[in-house]
């Protein structure tokens, strides 16, 4: 589990609107260069915040990414 990669991606999705737009348009392409396990990549592509949280994504990030926040 790469806690840093998961969380730096969440942080970028929250704080970088341009990256967020690319991710929304094509998640797999936006994540192409990211150092993620297969499970992590699948969770992001599915925008499954519960799974991302289980995989080490910080709660306050998964609850506050514009347009994708779990409530």
């Amino acid at each position: 589990m790469s806690r840093y990669e998961v969380n730096s991606l969440l942080y970028r999705l929250k704080k970088d609107p341009e990256f967020r737009a690319r991710f929304v348009a094509d998640p797999s392409a936006a994540l192409a260069g990211a150092d993620l396990s297969e499970a992590e990549r699948a969770a992001f592509v599915a925008r499954d915040m519960r799974r991302i949280n289980e995989l080490g994504g910080y709660l306050h990030l998964v609850m506050s990414i514009p347009g994708m926040a779990a409530h």
């Binding site: 709660l59 306050h60 609850m63 506050s64 514009p66 926040a69 409530h71």
Partner: protein
């Protein structure tokens, strides 16, 4: 000689709309009750004609992620900015209508930093980090339309393991009290966050609290018995959703052995809302 003229601690998402969405009408009603108490605490604080307000709070992975996560950090400089967030969601939305810039008490911040380094407290410093709702929601609720005195924001790493210990946070508060005592200023100190919510930072457990744990904390604070609180472990704080109580530990160190007066305690499914004030007469 300077002194601490006010001590308070309170929950830090003070937003009726947020709790209406999260918990329905009862959420709105209870946070409005808590906010009314916090506004009165702010009036008592303002009546002391303070020179500065130290605000001990945590970052929600907004200011420091992920190039460095300081265990304890003092904000220095002349002013601090409100965090900016496009299309803010959830607890970030509470910031939307707040002022953008706040004055800092540069001399007190530097004294806490420099005297800390001289006496074994290697605090981190920041000139640039913005502050999020953890700082600004309580400060604005306390002051309403009144001027806000110069702030000294201090971050405690409550969420990114490994966190500082409860005992070390208490010792930081003792350090702050010594610095204030040697200064010429009248200083208020507040700690924000809590009480119990978001156990284990687990999304499926959002909506659970540990009221038994909170009542133990309150019992000790009301009696001014801080020794048991020094023994709190990171594991206990994580499991009970009391991560932000580390901020309160700093405050306790600054005001110990004063006793707490609970102004508000309200149980919601999502969080136990609290507002507490210390008698410093």
């Amino acid at each position: 000689m300077g002194r601490i003229v006010f001590g308070g601690a309170m929950s830090h998402v003070l937003d009726p709309d947020y709790y209406d969405r999260a918990c329905g009408a009862v959420g709105r009603r209870m946070v409005e009750e808590a906010m009314a108490e916090i506004a009165q605490m702010g009036e008592r604080f303002s009546a002391t004609r303070p020179d500065a307000l130290v605000v001990v709070a945590d970052d929600h992975l907004n200011a420091f992620s992920f190039n460095a996560v300081p265990a304890m950090c003092v904000r220095i400089g002349r002013s601090v900015q409100r965090m900016s967030q496009d299309h803010a969601e959830a607890f970030d939305k509470v910031l939307d209508h707040m002022p953008l810039t706040y004055p800092l008490h540069e001399d007190l911040a530097n004294a806490i930093l420099e005297q800390g380094l001289q006496s074994g407290f290697d605090l981190a410093l920041s000139w640039e980090a913005p502050v999020d709702h953890a700082f600004l929601s309580p400060v604005n609720t306390m002051h309403g339309p009144r001027p806000i005195p110069p702030l000294v924001p201090i971050w405690i790493n409550c969420f990114v393991a490994p966190q500082p210990t409860a005992r070390r946070c208490f010792a930081l508060g003792q350090h702050i009290a010594r610095v204030v005592a040697r200064s010429p200023w009248k200083v208020g100190i507040i700690a924000t966050g809590g009480l119990s919510h978001f156990p284990e930072l687990s999304l499926p457990r959002v909506g659970e609290t540990d009221t038994v744990f909170d009542r133990r904390l309150i019992h000790w604070m009301e009696r001014g018995e801080h020794e048991p609180l020094l023994e709190l472990t990171g594991d206990e704080l994580h499991k009970s959703g009391s991560h932000e109580f580390l901020n309160w530990m700093v405050l306790l160190g600054a005001v110990s052995p004063a006793r707490a007066d609970v102004r508000y305690f309200g149980e919601l499914p999502r969080i136990n809302l609290a507002a507490v004030e210390w008698s410093l007469a």
